[in-house]
Symmetry: C2
Subunit: 110 residues, 2 copies
Amino acid sequence: MAGSDLYIGTLDVLILKALSWGPMHGYGIGRWIRQTTEDVLAVQEGALYPALHRLQRRGWLEEEWGVTETGREAKYYRLTPAGRRQLRSEVERWRAYARAVSAALDAAPA
Amino acid sequence: MAGSDLYIGTLDVLILKALSWGPMHGYGIGRWIRQTTEDVLAVQEGALYPALHRLQRRGWLEEEWGVTETGREAKYYRLTPAGRRQLRSEVERWRAYARAVSAALDAAPA
DNA sequence: GTACTATACCTAAGTGAACTAGGTATAGCA
DNA sequence: TGCTATACCTAGTTCACTTAGGTATAGTAC
C-alpha cells in the first residue's frame, strides 16, 4: 500500500463514513477508501488499524469477529449510535473547513 | 486567538497563498487567514510562527524587516520562486484531496 | 508441491506539525 | 494608568501518521 500523505485528522471521518454503509472489516475499509477516492487516498495499514482501535476506544465503533464471503476470519466493525452522531459532526466540520480553504485558495492571485 | 483545530498539513498552503498577494508580515498572515475563511480557521500563533520559520528554512520564503502602515516594526515575508512553485503544487494537492474526500462523504448513506 | 499474490490482522519506533501556555515590547485609547 | 490590539517569539507536550517490520491463510500460477 503506497503512501497517501493524509491531511492528518481526515482519516477518522472516512472510516466512520465507510461504516455508515454497514459493518465492514478493517481491510475492507482500507479498500473502500482507496476505491471511493479513486486511489487519491491509499491509507497505510499502520495508520488504519491504530485508528480503528482508537475509534473503538472512544465508543464510536463496536467489533465482532466474523467470516468473509471468501471464508476467511475477519474482525467486523459497526457504528455505535455515538459513532453515527460523531460521523454527522465530523462531516459538518469537514464541509465547513473544505469550503473555507477552497475559497481562500480560489481567490485571485497565483 | 481561539483554537481552530486545523487538519494538519493545510496551514502551509494557506500561508503560501496569503503571500501570493504580496509581502506580508506574520501577524497579517494570521489575520488574512482568519478573514478570508470567515473565522472558520483561526490559526494559533504557536502554529503560525514556527510554520513561517519552517517554510523559510525550506527556501520557500524570504524575510525582510520593515515598518507597517501604523509605524510598527514587522518582519515581512515574500515568496521565493521555489515558494511559488510549491504553492502551485500544494494547491493542486489540496484540490485533488478535497474533491476525493468530499465525493466519499457525499455518497448515499448517512 | 511450491512459490507467489492477495487477503487479513497487528505493533514498535520515529517524525513532526499543531496545541498549550507562557513570554517580550510598543502604539493608541480611555 | 491600565487596557486592548498589534507584533514577535519559544519550550514542552501531544498524538496522528509514516516507516518498517511481523504473523497467518486462501487461491492461483508454474
